[in-house]
Symmetry: C2
Subunit: 171 residues, 2 copies
DNA sequence: CGTGGCCTTGAGCATTCTCAATACATGTGG
DNA sequence: CCACATGTATTGAGAATGCTCAAGGCCACG
């Protein structure tokens, strides 16, 4: 990912959509063993990505010293991210999930003063296993508790006012 | 993993336990980028594992032709498993989660006639983000629906009677 | 303005959790 | 061999949580 934001997702047979992950600048994604990818990918905003063929990646890595280690690190990073996502999904209450999600996005954007969410409430819900209404409600609860506030007229731009307290919801 | 079964888990500050994954014979686990492991591991039954140092693994792979590719495959396999687990965790209802879990264990044991669950109901609950009571109830529902039956006196040994129908719950 | 997309909020309902009682298998000591 | 304790699983009832359905607001765009 060079710039922008991408979601990878799957549709279930009953029409529900599960979002597997959001990708932000700096991420690499799409590592697969089989021939076909198991997720679809869509850009959420104007996005620039660099496509690398598996073969090319392997070759370029074999060329440089410590290249293999670097490559392993890259895939392992993806694995660790996935494991963090799972911790998030196993949380019991919706409030915990939403708080953990906001903290995750905050970290990945390097704790900016004003955080930009490139995804809709429905996207967040499909990512967390919640409905968009519940996501909206829980964000309102956090706002009313003074842990965050919206910036400007849109509800996609917000500021975390108390990461300390927010991470307490996150156990 | 040579034989047996292992759970990897984390304790939350409020005492709840999240099980990250169960490992069965043939699996490799514990890939980490940082120095410390982020999960604890416990054997569920009499277990044999083979410990491999990261350095040793990298060296042995560098030696053989296509070793790097093999190694990438290994880590990628772990990543894909993690992604499957996430699909499972995002399922909405408890029945779907339990059905998907049973099918997963069935696959990983190569669809035996009688499946042995090395973990308790509480373990399953901590893995799925449910309580042990809910797990028990959903299994009873599947039993009453004729999709599985217990084998012998223990409730850890069971037989899937209708994988077809079971996978329908799994969307 | 009017429309459409997104978000919020409310009310009632369904599902899951909590707390509690019971059952059952296993292991221990008398 | 028989209590007895312990750990695990099942089941029930009421409470809490999240979902569904619905209404309304706000912004962007034509």
């Amino acid at each position: 990912m060079v710039s922008g934001a991408v979601r990878t997702y799957r549709l279930l047979s009953d029409g529900r959509r599960q979002i597997n992950s959001f990708h932000l600048p700096g991420d690499m994604f799409g590592f697969e063993n089989g021939k076909s990818h198991r997720f679809s990918a869509e850009a959420l905003v104007e996005t620039k990505v660099r496509i690398v063929r598996q073969r090319a990646l392997l070759c370029s890595m074999a060329d440089q010293a410590g290249g293999t280690t670097k490559l392993i690190r890259l895939v392992t990073q993806n694995l660790q991210d996935a494991e963090s996502h799972m911790l998030l999904l196993r949380r019991k209450t919706a409030l915990e999930k939403v708080a953990a999600f906001l903290l995750e996005m905050d970290e990945r954007q390097f704790r900016p003063d004003v955080m930009e969410l490139p995804m809709s409430r429905r996207d967040i819900g499909d990512y967390l296993g919640l409905t968009l209404e519940t996501v909206s409600r829980e964000i309102s609860i956090l706002r009313d508790a003074g842990l965050l506030r919206f910036v400007g007229t849109t509800q996609r731009r917000l500021s975390l006012l108390n990461r300390e307290e927010l991470s307490r919801y996150d156990s």
